[in-house]
């Protein structure tokens, strides 16, 4: 039996990155990467974008080529689950009975789609989107004229809506809040995206919930009844109502869990030999707020940070969050976190050739949302990393080069 090294639970973006980064930093002990899904670890973002429109090749993009794992002595256990952790013995037990010992255990278990809590939520053509299998099944059903009802106007819901419309399906999106993407976007940016969806022929209804999915008598959904007592016919219902972090293993092991596996600034759980990263963890921002972020950037940056910590460089995790979403021809990029913002300053205007929304919390720039303005996005990442808050009049002036704000910091 190999000497204990690092065991990583979860072979998504975060898990694969930890393994790769450990080897890059010269870690020589054993690395075992355990993933419950079948097939090679793969990229998730295309599942709600190009894969649905079949613009990508039918094959999903692997996170690393197949030969990568053996080349770097990363033992990949596909289609296996970890059933429990024995913290005292520093051992995990897999679903095939095998026990593996660890020096360090990394939980990168991700999240699963939140189930629809309404009658009919489990009917045959009511689907969620998280895995490659979900995406391929969804793609087969997005045909011209299919009546698709999407519950939830967050990123998944709206990306699926865009894909479905581009395939000529008949699309209605239902959002329970007064506006779409309230959790994730400022109002001007969300409104802009919603108008693009509507211009493409998608129906979006806000302040309404799906109360009940109607069974056609044979276990398939035939329609959705809404909170305003109207109903919609449906050939397919897509649930995009968020995800729930996979914390079962952490709970069983009596680690601190609270809407995610809670970690400290170094991303260690309440057990110093166990780390948690990516969609499943709740971690402190530099200002002390605890957050759980669902993004590729968060997964991979946290993975690199834990690899640093395990190989001896345990600085607190600090990273400017960034995110992207593609909906119709709108490329949305976000830098920072919008929580607490009390003012939006626009650079350019919605309806033109791209614009950005700079979000301020008092004097401080906290986030920037860019639509088809990648240069703004890249500058924003640098500004946020440097702690710079450009003057509002400069932000609003599209002739003003925001990079001049950065020159001040390079001399520090």
């Amino acid at each position: 039996m190999t000497a204990a090294g690092v065991i990583i639970v979860g072979a998504g973006h975060a898990g694969v990155q930890v393994a790769a980064s450990l080897r890059q930093r010269g870690y020589e002990q054993s690395i075992t990467l355990i993933g419950a899904e079948h097939g090679l670890p793969y990229q998730r973002p295309p599942l709600s974008k190009d894969l649905l429109t079949a613009r990508a090749s039918a094959e999903i993009a692997a996170l690393r080529p197949g030969a990568f794992y053996s080349k770097h002595s990363i033992e990949l256990r596909i289609g296996r689950r970890v059933l429990c952790i024995d913290r005292k013995a520093r051992q995990v037990q897999l679903d095939d009975g095998e026990r593996l010992m660890y020096m360090h255990l990394v939980l990168a278990t991700g999240a699963r789609p939140r189930p629809l809590p309404i009658p009919g939520g489990d009917l045959e053509n009511v689907v969620a989107l998280r895995t490659i299998d979900d995406a391929l099944a969804l793609r087969r059903r997005l045909v011209r004229g299919a009546r698709v009802v999407i519950i939830g106007a967050g990123f998944i819901g709206l990306e699926v809506a865009a894909a479905a419309r581009s395939l000529d399906a008949d699309v209605t999106v239902l959002e329970l809040a007064p506006r779409c993407m309230a959790r994730a976007l400022s109002e001007p940016t969300a409104d802009h995206l919603v108008s693009c969806h509507r211009a493409a022929g998608c129906t979006i209804r806000t302040a309404v919930t799906a109360k009940h999915i109607v069974d056609d008598g044979r276990g398939r959904a035939a329609g959705v009844t809404l909170s305003d007592s109207t109903s919609l016919e449906a050939d397919l219902v897509v649930a995009g109502v968020g995800v729930v972090p996979r914390t079962e293993l952490a709970k069983q092991a009596r680690l601190h869990v609270d809407d995610g596996v809670v970690v400290d600034a170094r991303l260690a759980t309440s057990d110093p030999a166990i780390w948690a990263i990516g969609d499943c963890c709740r971690f402190p921002l530099p200002d002390g707020r605890l957050v759980r972020l669902e993004s590729v950037q968060n997964a991979t940056d946290q993975a690199r940070s834990v690899a640093d910590a395990i190989t001896g460089d345990a600085a607190p995790y600090v990273s400017v969050p960034w995110f992207w979403s593609d909906q119709h021809e709108q490329k949305l990029q976000i830098a920072g976190l919008l929580d607490g913002h009390d003012e939006v300053v626009l650079r350019g205007a919605p309806g033109e050739d791209g614009f950005s929304a700079f979000l301020y919390d008092g004097p401080k720039l906290v986030a920037v949302e860019s639509i088809n303005r990648p240069r703004d996005h890249l500058v924003a990442r640098k500004l946020l990393a440097a702690g710079e808050s450009p003057r509002r009049q400069d932000v609003a002036d599209t002739e003003f080069d925001l990079k001049t704000n950065l020159l001040a910091t390079t001399s520090r």
């Binding site: 295309p46 094959e59 080529p65 590729v296 992207w324 593609d326």
Partner: protein, 107 residues
């Protein structure tokens, strides 16, 4: 179909045939070439698909646009005059025989 040759930091060369219009990054990922990470999936957000283009080819590639230029300042391995982002260069028949070198690090 045009061919691209990827040369690893160790000097190993691997030539692959790619459909016209495929980016240097996609061709690498599709063919299992290690050394191109493409963390953002080709969305010009991360600079982990950095390549050094063989000097015989640098002038024959489409010009670097602003966003690629900015991102190239963020690469893990040093930026050189022949640095490009693999996700921003699509291979055409004119680029048949293109040679790129992979950097020591992408992250």
């Amino acid at each position: 179909m045009p061919t691209i040759t990827y040369i690893s930091p160790d000097g190993d060369a691997e030539a692959v045939n790619v459909a016209v219009g495929t980016t240097i990054k996609d061709a690498a990922v599709e063919n299992g070439i290690e050394g191109i990470v493409a963390e953002c999936g080709g969305n010009a957000m991360c600079a982990t698909c950095h390549v050094y283009v063989d000097p015989a080819w640098t002038d024959r590639l489409p010009r670097i646009q602003d966003v690629e230029d900015e991102l190239l300042d963020e690469t893990a391995s040093p930026r050189q005059a022949n640095s490009r982002l693999g996700c921003q260069v699509a291979v055409t028949d004119d680029l048949d025989g293109l040679v790129v070198r992979l950097p020591q690090e992408q992250e």
